[in-house]
């Protein structure tokens, strides 16, 4: 743990403060919600890592997608992701967002989440243990230090392609494009 490196704090205090205080959006997307309450309560305390759940996406900067994603949930996830302020990070849980997982031949679940919203890291398992969640979060810290967790920057640059993929699955979307040529 590099909490004692005073030079890092002096160089970029905003990034260090952002990293050590993740606010998680409270959205139970799939199966994996069964291992989140043990992580936030007293036995495997997540608050010592700085993680705390908040009520609205406007106050959050980490989005945990716990498990498989169906097409109806995908619309809700995209709307929630677009409401979060930048910088924001996404972490996917379980083996279902990677390649479809156990429901690879289901007509209602998508097979790969990275094509629709940018994902910074994956935590494998079905379900992952609470210790695996914490290892994932510390790995995300390292990526933020090296400036490699840039999912939100990719979303801003390649928004046209992300939106084309979303429209290919969901049809005509109800909400206007987030970034257009004027405000990019």
């Amino acid at each position: 743990m590099d909490r004692n490196k005073i030079s890092k704090w002096l160089k970029n205090p905003g990034k260090m403060a952002n990293k050590y205080s993740f606010h998680v959006v409270y959205f139970c997307t799939g199966c994996g919600i069964i291992e989140i309450p043990p992580s936030i309560t007293t036995r495997w305390d997540a608050e010592r890592f700085g993680i705390i759940p908040v009520a609205t996406p406007r106050q959050a900067n980490l989005f945990l997608i716990t498990g498989y994603v169906s097409t109806k949930t995908l619309a809700a996830i995209i709307r929630t992701y677009e409401q979060m302020p930048e910088p924001k990070y996404t972490v996917a849980f379980g083996s279902c967002p990677i390649n479809g997982g156990m429901y690879y031949d289901s007509y209602n679940t998508i097979t790969s989440l990275d094509k629709y919203i940018p994902v910074d890291g994956y935590i494998a398992g079905c379900m992952p243990r609470p210790e695996a969640i914490f290892i994932g979060v510390t790995h995300l810290w390292k990526l933020i230090d090296m400036d490699k967790a840039d999912g939100y920057k990719r979303y801003r640059e390649d928004y046209v392609h992300y939106r084309a993929n979303q429209e290919q699955i969901l049809g005509e979307l109800d909400w206007p494009p987030l970034f257009s040529k004027e405000n990019l």
């Binding site: 139970c28 309560t41 036995r43």
Partner: protein
């Protein structure tokens, strides 16, 4: 005042699970509620037709994420009924002990959800901690904390390890010794009584007309429990009571949940005393890839912690099931009873009523 349409949608602090309700409100009162499921639909019953009888067995437990053991139990019971397999005596006792442990863990999860939504964070943390102690017992027995994959057609997968029952009894004494603290902090607290009395009332004539199951019936005095009506596994060898209350509101439902949890702990002690010490725990089944079950149909039911769970299975003599249909308790309680119970209530009580009716979203969508 004008009417407004409000979405009590999937991303909400009062919602446990991925479920949405569309409300027509006027001021603070709800006029009409429409449930909107489908966020977790995977098409289980179609997926199960494309896998063999044993390959379905890890898929079945993911239907209800909070309490996967009764789904495995009901699938195993119906395959055994179609194929004509008998479970040995020790296997029946192990199945009952396992299901009662799952019932206690599920009720502790329900207590976490309800206390968290009302704001009693202390009690919520205690409930989740005690559930974790039980999940440690599950991990020692089966290897996983959730999704155990332990009850298979023919019995259970392996026997109890040496000294397991002593450790289980010690854990249950630790949980049971905290019940007076739970009572003093939560169940007999005046704030909880004011927050839950008279909310979401379902009276007897309405419950029968709308087909309710589970705690909505036990809270109006009806002893509807499949463990007594049509006993399965080892439930006919021990004595236990079904606790009921009169009142029909959220307060009575929470008290029946607490009483059922305490009764399950005592039931595990009685089952451990009566269990035979030696014996087989499963009967062998044929080679999984070539196992063909004769054509027929079966309807079995059991009592999960949410109500009556049923399964209708059709086989056409092949290696894969022809049609499987789960009749989950949340399908009825969450779509018919919930829409009726929400009329006339205030917006701040929606989560309250939904969790006290014990509706969990993946069971509705399957």
């Amino acid at each position: 005042m004008r009417e407004l349409e409000l979405y009590f949608g999937p991303q909400h602090l009062g919602m446990v699970g991925n479920f949405s309700i569309t409300l027509q409100v006027e001021g603070d009162r709800i006029i009409k509620a429409e449930a909107n499921p489908g966020y977790l639909h995977r098409g289980f019953e179609k997926l199960m037709e494309q896998r063999t009888w044993i390959q379905n067995f890890p898929l079945v437990c993911r239907i209800n994420v909070v309490e996967p053991d009764h789904m495995e139990l009901i699938y195993s019971m119906s395959v055994e009924k179609l194929a004509g397999i008998e479970v040995p005596e020790k296997g029946k006792y192990i199945r009952s002990i396992f299901c009662e442990m799952a019932r206690v863990a599920s009720h502790l999860f329900g207590a976490w959800a309800y206390a968290n939504m009302l704001g009693f964070d202390t009690v919520a943390n205690w409930a989740m901690y005690h559930r974790d102690l039980l999940l440690d017992m599950f991990e020692e027995l089966t290897g996983a904390r959730v999704y155990h994959i332990y009850l298979r057609p023919g019995g259970v997968r392996r026997d109890f390890p040496a000294g397991f029952t002593d450790r289980l009894v010690k854990t249950l004494h630790k949980i049971g010794g905290k019940v007076p603290d739970y009572n003093a902090t939560f169940f007999e607290n005046r704030l909880f009584q004011k927050r839950a009395e008279g909310i979401g009332t379902v009276n007897r004539e309405e419950a029968i007309r709308m087909g309710a199951v589970g705690h909505a019936l036990k809270a109006i005095g009806m002893k509807h429990d499949i463990r007594k009506i049509e006993p399965y596994a080892a439930y006919d060898q021990v004595e236990f009571n079904i606790h009921t209350r009169t009142g029909g509101d959220a307060y009575s439902r929470l008290l029946t949940i607490r009483d059922e949890m305490i009764e399950s702990v005592h039931l595990i002690f009685k089952l451990i005393d009566k269990m035979p010490k030696t014996g087989e725990v499963f009967t062998k089944t044929p080679n999984p890839f070539k196992w063909k079950i004769p054509a027929g149909e079966a309807y079995v039911r059991c009592e999960s912690s949410r109500g009556e769970l049923g399964l209708y299975m059709v086989s056409d003599g092949g290696t894969k099931p022809y049609r499987v249909h789960f009749n989950t308790p949340s399908f009825n309680n969450g779509l018919t009873v919930l829409e009726k119970a929400l009329e006339g209530e205030s917006i701040s009580d929606v989560g309250n009523i939904m969790i006290s009716l014990y509706v969990v979203a993946p069971e509705i969508d399957r």
